[in-house]
Amino acid sequence: MEPVRTVTGTAVPLRRSDVDTDQIIPAKWLKRVERTGFGQGLFSEWRADPEFVLNQPRFAGAAVLVTGPNFGTGSSREHAVWALLDYGFAAVVSPSFADIFRTNCTKAGMVPVQVPAEVGDALLAAVEADPSVVITIDVAARTVGGAGVSATFPLDDFTQWRFLEGLDDIGLSLRNEDEIVAYEASRPAWMPTLP
């Protein structure tokens, strides 16, 4: 993945909780065999409503999605992250994320910014009131700020390092090749294998 050090831009306020990945990218879009082009499917059912927040021109061009708790619940489809990235988002701010969605973000280069509920509420209100509010996320400092609100967010050292350096996860694991080989030699012979 490409390095991600800071994300700076305006935001879209999505005032909903428990947004599931079936809404982020409905199943009919999952038939594609490519990694690109999912932006057009982002929230496609909700975008059928002209009032839906993504359809409002005042929020066009945003880099950050600010939303309610338990974002990304449900299906493991990484296509949800690809759709957000392809649409133009580089970070999602939420009081909590579903586990698989959060991991998928960190693999695909999207910053999951988990903030205390009151910070999330304040940012949602600020962006709803003024779409020109700029939010800045600093991966090295683990901070998010904008509209007079600032907070730190959790990001483990290893994932932060991968974001900052744009490192390939698989390459990192393969540095432990010797240990993988040794582990394989220790596995019981009766464990199942395919022909």
């Binding site: 909780s17 579903a98 394989e184 395919l194």
Partner: protein
Amino acid sequence: MANKVWDSHVVHHAEGQPDLLYIDLHLIHEVTTPQAFDGLRLAGRGVRRPDLTVATMDHNTPTIGLDLPLADPISAKQIAALATNCAEFGITLYPMGHANQGIVHVIGPEQGLTQPGMTIVCGDSHTSTHGAFGALAFGIGSSEVEHVLATQTLPQHRPANMAVTIEGDLPAGVTAKDVILALIGRIGTGGGAGHVIEYRGSTVRSLSMEGRMTICNMSIEAGARAGLVAPDETTFAWLAGRPHAPSDVDWGAAVEHWRSLATDEGAVFDKEVVIDATALRPHVTWGTNPSQVVAIDGVVPDPDILTDAGQAESARRALTYMGLAAGTPVREIRVDTVFIGSCTNSRLADLRAAAAVVDGRHVAAGMRAMVVPGSMRVKAEAEAEGLDRIFTAAGFEWRAAGCSMCLGMNPDQLSPQERCASTSNRNFEGRQGPGGRTHLVSPAVAAATAVAGHFATPEDL
């Protein structure tokens, strides 16, 4: 127990880094793998252990007309991509029409590939199903699928542990599905986040493997990373004689290892929940996430009485989407369609439970009802018992295996506003087709509802 399985799979540990875990079994299907195989090719990498990888086609596959070309050319392309990728990288594939084909979480246990103490992953959130055997099994995204294909390992942060203890005899008509729906109703869709849930207690011990799979399957709907149950005689009896189970020579050593996995006496969990099974009733979801659920004897709840503003707003949206009014008795909600299937409830025991209810009866006038067995093997076994004839005589369609109407990636979908009693796992907006309205229920309630035309238990008939 989760810690024991974890510790025995750590390939590399370093402070400040996720543990590198060895993966014993990687299940793959057509939807979440094409981009992973492309990634391998781009980087010039191969599949490290094709012998620990097994593929099937399930999400897109039609359940009728298997001998015909796929109606949807995009689905056909995705299915063809899996076949090409498996051939190129030497991976065993159970394709459409194969006797071993089926939903990935049905065929793993069925083939004996799922065994206690293993680490199992799949690019599908319902991989938690395999935890019923005491395996540490969890869903992953496509980048992680590529990682496992290339290295047979995954870097993972150790999850916290949560105990869900369920005690007492289940009342008549109350099933494993009702237990897990009740739990999700209580702790919410994020209640298990960051945790592996271990299901314990007398109720769990007396459940069949199918029942345990149903509960572990929906751990993800509680937000948990995985769910598991300590292996016992029920587990060993299920595994004995399955195609990939240990041979007679190795059986003793394997069972000895499996017995050692149980959580030690006095172990401390990060979170604990206790459920009194004797007080449970059949459950029906009324909203658009699985925590929006009530007992069948109840009414559609009033969002205004919810204290959390976000939950109240979510409930209002859900009632609008579902076309329901607060205060409506659940039994008075009329249903258009009944779907019996999915990785949650499509195994032989589930089909037997539903068939027992509809035997000698007929679905209500205008009702669309279908049964989609979880695998071609389940289908064959059910047919050998005559279950297919019971269902078709009652007015059900009897289909071939696949994910089908659980997520509507194949032609089996709901129309806008069509109301469905479904034995699947997700009642999200549009899950079974754009605009469709899903209510999650057990196979017994689904069957009784098909006959009654509105939500009902077998005792109501």
